[in-house]
């Protein structure tokens, strides 16, 4: 049994400027118990790196997200992202989640596929017409999910430059002070509140209008909850997908034999997306700690009530106890229950949508730019929670 007084190690482990999974994780995963880690801000935490432990902590209701609001939660930036679904526990969480869940079911999202495919092809057509080189991020990976989430939610795409700044700030780990962080969040909230007012005056066939009805007619959520839900969906709805599209291409360029196989047989795309979701450790480090609400044994470590636990999804996804040849990319892998979209009540709301976006993005790239390759150095995002290229020059 590990004792609480071992000296915590500095965290996060991953470097921002690659998609490499730090070797530290493999060492820790093979040791008994859980290590203590210290983040730049907040209290020390336990770190979970094994697949089975990750599922336990993310899936068991004795671990709470709402408790984090009452604690100095371990985090990478001074400011903190409170509010929204990820700060709630059941049954409160369910009250909000059920309002939006229907818009994101597999069945509903499948109906958007033709539109998403057309958007992906249009973006690549514009790119090829302008000629190489192009920036895969600005010309493709970002406008695709932004276009999709804007239409779905009812946010004008023309405002992209404005909300890109706020959204970057929300997910930043940089030198923003808590005040600057707060100011940026308030601007984004004010912007969203303005859009909600416009939708109240002019209802439309979109998710924002549906949520306004849930608030005004059925009183299912408060005005601030409504604002934060829309903000959360807008931010979460594009940043991750926009990072994963170029990340996936990077990994495929590093694995030419797998890439060639995918080009030959595009029916492998859906499985390839799952494997890439497993293989790419997206975060610089684990975030969103869970707080134990009672004493719980995790892999031989006694986690006391009130202790925070961080779950390193990228490490759990490479656990050899769960995945054969866990360190190898295999686009034909079966039985791939990766944790790339999390697990449990906070399992990614947008997972079905992100899957379709990523599948269609890959399919369009394979079909229209089969010879795509790097045309210069990747400029990696630094000081962001999520890793990925800021720009990625490509030719074809």
């Amino acid at each position: 049994m590990t004792s609480t007084d071992t000296e915590p190690v500095a965290y996060p482990f991953n470097e921002a400027t690659s998609l490499h999974l730090s070797d530290r994780y493999a060492l820790i995963r093979d040791q008994d118990g859980l290590p203590r880690v210290r983040l730049p801000y907040g209290e020390d935490a336990w770190l979970v790196t094994r697949y089975a432990d990750a599922r336990l902590v993310l899936g068991d209701s004795r671990f709470s997200r709402a408790e984090s609001v009452r604690h100095d939660e371990p985090r990478q930036s001074e400011g903190r992202l409170t509010g929204g679904l990820l700060s709630m526990d059941p049954p409160e969480h369910a009250r909000l989640r059920t309002l939006v869940a229907k818009a994101f079911t597999v069945r509903r999202v499948e109906k958007l596929r033709p539109e998403i495919r057309a958007l992906a092809e249009d973006l690549l057509r514009d790119m090829t017409e302008a000629g190489p080189p192009a920036d895969l991020v600005d010309d493709f990976a970002l406008p695709l999910p932004v276009g999709v989430i804007c239409r779905l939610l009812g946010v004008p795409e023309a405002d992209r430059p404005r909300f890109r700044v706020w959204s970057d700030n929300a997910l930043s780990t940089s030198s923003l002070t808590a005040e600057q962080f707060e100011a940026s969040r308030n601007e984004l909230r004010a912007y969203m509140a303005g859009l909600i007012d416009q939708h109240r005056a002019h209802p439309a066939d979109d998710l924002m209008t549906a949520l306004i009805e849930a608030r005004d007619d059925r009183d299912r959520l408060s005005e601030l909850e409504l604002v934060d839900l829309c903000v959360g969906i807008l931010v979460a709805g594009h940043e991750t997908t926009a990072s994963q599209i170029p990340n996936f291409l990077c990994v495929l360029l590093d694995h030419p034999e797998q890439f060639a196989r995918l080009r030959e047989d595009p029916s492998l795309v859906a499985g390839a997306v799952e494997e890439l979701l497993r293989f790419v450790p997206l975060g610089v480090g684990a975030g969103q700690p869970r707080y134990a609400t009672e004493d719980i044994d995790v892999s031989g470590t006694l986690v006391r009530a009130g202790d925070p636990v961080l779950v390193a999804i990228g490490a759990a996804n490479r656990d050899a106890l769960r995945f054969d040849r866990s360190g190898k990319l295999d686009i034909t892998r079966t039985n791939n229950s990766h944790l790339g979209f999390g697990h449990g009540v906070h399992h990614c709301l947008g997972a079905p949508l992100a899957r379709v976006e990523l599948q269609e993005a890959l399919r369009a790239l394979l079909g229209m730019l089969p010879g795509v390759r790097l045309a210069g150095d990747i400029d990696w995002k630094t000081a962001m929670l999520v890793r990925g290229p800021r720009s990625m020059p490509v030719r074809w």
Partner: protein, 72 residues
């Protein structure tokens, strides 16, 4: 009055949402959901889970076989 829980394990994607929302009703077995009991007492948490399931894999039926969840 009791409800019956049906889970389509072929479409379940093992998200763990249901087991997190209503642990007395759903449990995960081999990374897929299954009903913890044949019959359950009517309860909000089970309806929440049926409404939230991303795969629409959960159906709740009353004693007459009428669908009570997911709610429309």
């Amino acid at each position: 009055m009791t409800w019956r829980v049906e889970i389509d394990r072929d479409v379940c994607i093992g998200s763990g949402m249901c087991a997190g929302m209503a642990p007395s009703v759903f449990e995960l077995e081999n990374e897929r959901s299954r009903a913890a009991a044949e019959q359950i007492d009517p309860q909000e948490a089970a309806l929440d889970a049926a409404d939230s399931c991303p795969a629409l894999a959960i159906t709740l039926l009353d004693e007459d076989g009428e669908v009570v969840g997911p709610r429309p």
